[in-house]
């Protein structure tokens, strides 16, 4: 085997290795279909719980479709947020078992090891969004503004997931072991709830509502409500009025912070 001497050769290796490692994740799903199904159906269960148990008590601003149509964009974003657990557990597990060290001691393209994880997790999230969209259609959610705007909304959701991949990779490399996934699972809930995903920030105490409005989750959720034409609070703060802009900016900021952190951590792993 000879090492590639040119940038093109190195890129070819990186692409090939990314494909191999994405294939590894797909092979995992094929070997553990039950686990995958439970993972995909978990947010569906939350939709049914929220929609049918709490829904009757909720007043939805902006009228029309009711609480279930209000929470669907929120639950799409929550599904993206839950994805960070998948990334975290996979990365922390590989690091703890020495698999990452094996990769690092091999002539495998270093960026491919992170990129392969990212590609696999994005594919997983596309599947998760598809399941959630079907679930939404069944409980009465609709995208009222046409296919182009609906796709733009889904694109923003995947952009959020893309940003969370690097956060998950970084946290997974920093963590002491895969057991810490419980901590991530716990933290995900307050981050998700402290946003406009499932409730209206106006109803919170003032300072808490302000945090919720500026939560990156809220930006994506509010932008999706706008693009899907779903009910939601209108007007409000600057953040709420510029949700589409923020739904693009926030993920870029998160990526700009966590991608270099993750890459650096990977290079100096185990110091």
């Amino acid at each position: 085997m000879t090492l590639p001497e040119t940038p093109v050769g190195r890129l070819r290796w990186a692409v090939a290795d990314t494909r191999t490692l994405t294939g590894r994740a797909l092979a995992h799903w094929a070997r553990r279909p039950g686990e995958v199904a439970v993972g995909l159906l978990f947010p569906v269960m939350v939709v049914l719980m929220m929609g049918y148990l709490f829904g009757g008590q909720m007043d939805v601003p902006g009228g029309g479709g009711g609480y279930r149509e209000f929470i669907m964009p929120g639950m799409f974003a929550m599904t993206m947020l839950f994805g960070i657990e998948t990334t975290f557990a996979a990365v922390a597990g590989d690091a703890a078992k020495g698999v990452t060290d094996r990769f690092r001691a091999m002539p495998t393209s270093p960026p491919a090891i992170i990129a392969g994880r990212g590609a696999a997790d994005l594919l997983h999230s596309v599947a998760a969004l598809a399941v959630m969209a079907v679930c939404g259609l069944l409980v009465g959610w609709r995208a009222h503004e046409g296919a182009a705007r609906a796709l733009a909304g889904l694109g923003l959701l995947l952009l959020l997931r893309f940003a969370l991949i690097w956060m998950g990779v970084y946290l997974g490399l920093v963590a002491k072991g895969p057991e810490s996934v419980a901590a991530v699972q716990t933290l995900v809930w307050p981050i998700g709830f402290l946003s406009s995903a499932l409730v209206v920030p106006d109803t919170m105490p003032g300072w808490l509502g302000a945090i919720a409005e500026w939560n990156p989750m809220s930006a994506t959720v509010t932008a999706c409500r706008e693009l899907f034409g779903d009910p939601g609070p209108t007007g409000g703060s600057w953040a709420a009025q510029h949700s589409v802009l923020l739904a693009v900016l926030w993920p870029l900021v998160i990526t700009a912070v966590f991608f270099p952190l993750a890459a650096r951590r990977y290079r100096v792993m185990g110091r």
Binding site: L3, T20, R24, R31, M106
Partner: protein, 323 residues
């Protein structure tokens, strides 16, 4: 390129983690085609040395070449010429044994057909063909370790690093791993292995470096290391405790050196510079004096004794710490 005489050379390697100096000027020279043991207590710097030599960690100072390439400047080239078996069996536990080997083969940039063929060869060679389709997570400790070895042999690298390869294995699996290592060396591979088991180093290694506090404190062939502690000894075990003092005096006179008495074990021992001649003389003298002997023989100090002697009491304390 001609094969270098030394497969691994390290000169003055240093690595500091916070306040502790994991490597404090480590020197190594491993001749190609041999097995070299890095022996030392926990925390001596064995794993750090392996991490530096396999490019996983950058040294703070010093230089090292592995298979002819510098581990810092030529890291990418070193990675194509080494195999690493770490302390954990670093395999994907969800994938089957075959899927693991094909995946690693692809990541070594073998074509897909070559990767599959190589996987089958290695499964056969490491006696895993029958279990090839089962998830590696269901393998026994010994099988997982063999799969790990197979994965590091995909490119048949000229230099193989084994970091405590038999820690946590049962005796049978341990013997299996030893056999595999011997077979690899017969095939021309240079092996550097770290171990806390002196028996392992004694059985496998052509040369040993005893390291403590990040530097080499003794090195040489196992026999030479043992000889450094003193040569062979005559040891006599008695039936009757009252005869200990007499036996010690007779033995001392017979070998011409001071004898030591271990009353609890009913044992008397003395250096035997003349080996067989000293033994014969001791038997004759004890018999003439009418001392009843339960057992008598020549004994060479074990590597354990050498090791404890070299690393001192602090090392003995640290040895209590589980791996």
């Amino acid at each position: 390129m001609t094969a270098p005489q030394f497969a691994v050379v390290a000169e003055g390697l240093r690595k500091r983690y916070g306040g502790t100096e994991a490597l404090a000027g480590l020197d190594l020279a491993v001749p190609a085609g041999t097995v070299h043991g890095l022996l030392g207590p926990n925390g001596a710097g064995k794993t750090t040395a392996v991490r530096v030599l396999t490019t996983l960690t950058r040294p703070d100072g010093g230089t090292a070449t592995v298979a002819g390439h510098d581990v810092v400047r030529g890291a990418a080239r070193v990675r194509t010429r080494v195999g690493l078996v770490g302390q954990h069996a670093a395999v994907d536990e969800v994938l089957s044994g075959r899927q693991n080997l094909v995946m690693f083969g692809r990541l070594y940039h073998l074509g897909s057909r070559t990767a599959r063929r190589r996987a089958d060869e290695l499964l056969e060679r490491f006696r895993l063909t029958e279990a090839a389709g089962r998830p590696a997570g269901q393998y026994s400790g010994g099988m997982r370790r063999r799969l790990d070895l197979a994965a590091s042999m995909i490119l048949a690298p000229p230099v193989l690093f084994l970091d405590e390869p038999t820690t946590g294995l049962d005796p049978r699996s341990r013997t299996e791993v030893w056999d595999e290592v011997r077979a690899l060396v017969e095939g021309g591979t240079t092996v550097l292995l770290t171990t806390q088991y002196l028996e392992e180093a004694d059985r496998l290694a052509d040369g040993i470096s005893v390291i403590d506090h990040g530097r080499v404190i003794a090195e040489g062939a196992p026999d030479r290391l043992k000889a450094r502690l003193g040569g062979d000894r005559v040891e006599v075990v008695l039936d009757d405790p009252s005869a200990l003092a007499d036996a010690a005096a007779i033995l001392a006179r017979a070998v011409g050196a001071e004898a030591e008495v271990d009353a609890a074990a009913l044992r008397v021992g003395a250096p035997a510079a003349g080996r067989a001649a000293a033994l014969t003389e001791a038997v004759r003298a004890l018999d003439a004096a009418g001392v009843r002997v339960a057992d008598i023989g020549l004994r060479r100090p074990t590597l354990d004794e050498v090791f404890l002697h070299l690393t001192g009491d602090t090392a003995q304390d640290r040895k209590e710490v589980p791996a």
